[in-house]
Symmetry: C2
Subunit: 160 residues, 2 copies
């Protein structure tokens, strides 16, 4: 354990959150995220250290209307799936998903070992998220971001 | 060499820019930056892969009024200098510099080997940069960002 103090930290010391808050049946279980940016007091963008065990996807395939996304692979092997096909990413490789480009993307760990990457996303207001393969989207409804069916019906809140 | 195509790339394949555009006598020479975010088409924030040779600082000690900064060490050893003192950072350690916190920061490679890190900064408009140790600041003047002396006199433009 390191004895770093803010504004620095050891990423491994940040608590991990396992799984996702997607509504059933789309909830993820294997993904482990450490919110480094939040732990460091950043507000304009988030930075997460993400560990995917063998077989785990990063999320549901999706794209953002107003927020940029960036990922950088630190360890292991990931398959990036986009409309253009599949590409294999290893340490030192990066990918990004500019706001408004309707190219759904997801990372999948198809290897036999954990994979580790950094993800960055900004927090531009008014963002919407589309999931081309499933009955899900994110829209702002009454001042809060909600998971909706594609017909606009809301899913139950995570805490409902 | 990898054969990745956008939206992915091998970070090592992005052209490096050596040195900085600070006005004399503050220009840096050793630092090598690869602008991954620009190469990937991101606009809301920048991501650079930075290599510091032995003895090189990341920049002049500074802080931003409106833009958040984040760094993550990938390889080697760096000394983070802030108002709170010095801390030694190695791979897997991170630091950040939230907008508006007047704590000048810089990374210095005091080791005998190259050090490699990722840096992320957003592009919130209206940013100003202060350099507590030297006669330098960045302000918007007539619609463009300029390096100024602390009395407000502009330095010559890099292309003057």
């Amino acid at each position: 354990m390191s004895d770093l103090k803010l504004p620095a930290l050891d990423a491994a010391a940040v608590p991990a959150v396992t799984g996702s808050d997607h509504p059933a049946p789309y909830r993820l279980t294997g993904r482990e995220k450490r919110a480094l940016g939040d732990a460091l007091g950043l507000e304009n963008f988030g930075v997460n250290l993400v560990r995917l065990p063998p077989g785990a996807p990063s999320t549901q395939r999706h794209w953002h209307s107003r927020q940029d996304e960036f990922i950088y692979v630190l360890d292991g092997e990931l398959v990036l799936v986009t409309e253009g096909g599949e590409q294999r990413l290893t340490a030192g490789m990066a990918a990004s998903f500019p706001a408004g480009v309707p190219d759904g993307h997801v990372l999948i760990n198809r290897s036999g070992h954990d994979a580790l990457y950094l993800e960055v996303g900004d927090r531009t207001p008014g963002d919407a998220v589309d999931y081309p393969d499933i009955d899900l989207m994110v829209r702002r409804v009454g001042g809060e971001e909600r998971y909706l069916h594609k017909d606009g019906t809301p899913y139950p809140r995570a805490d409902d």
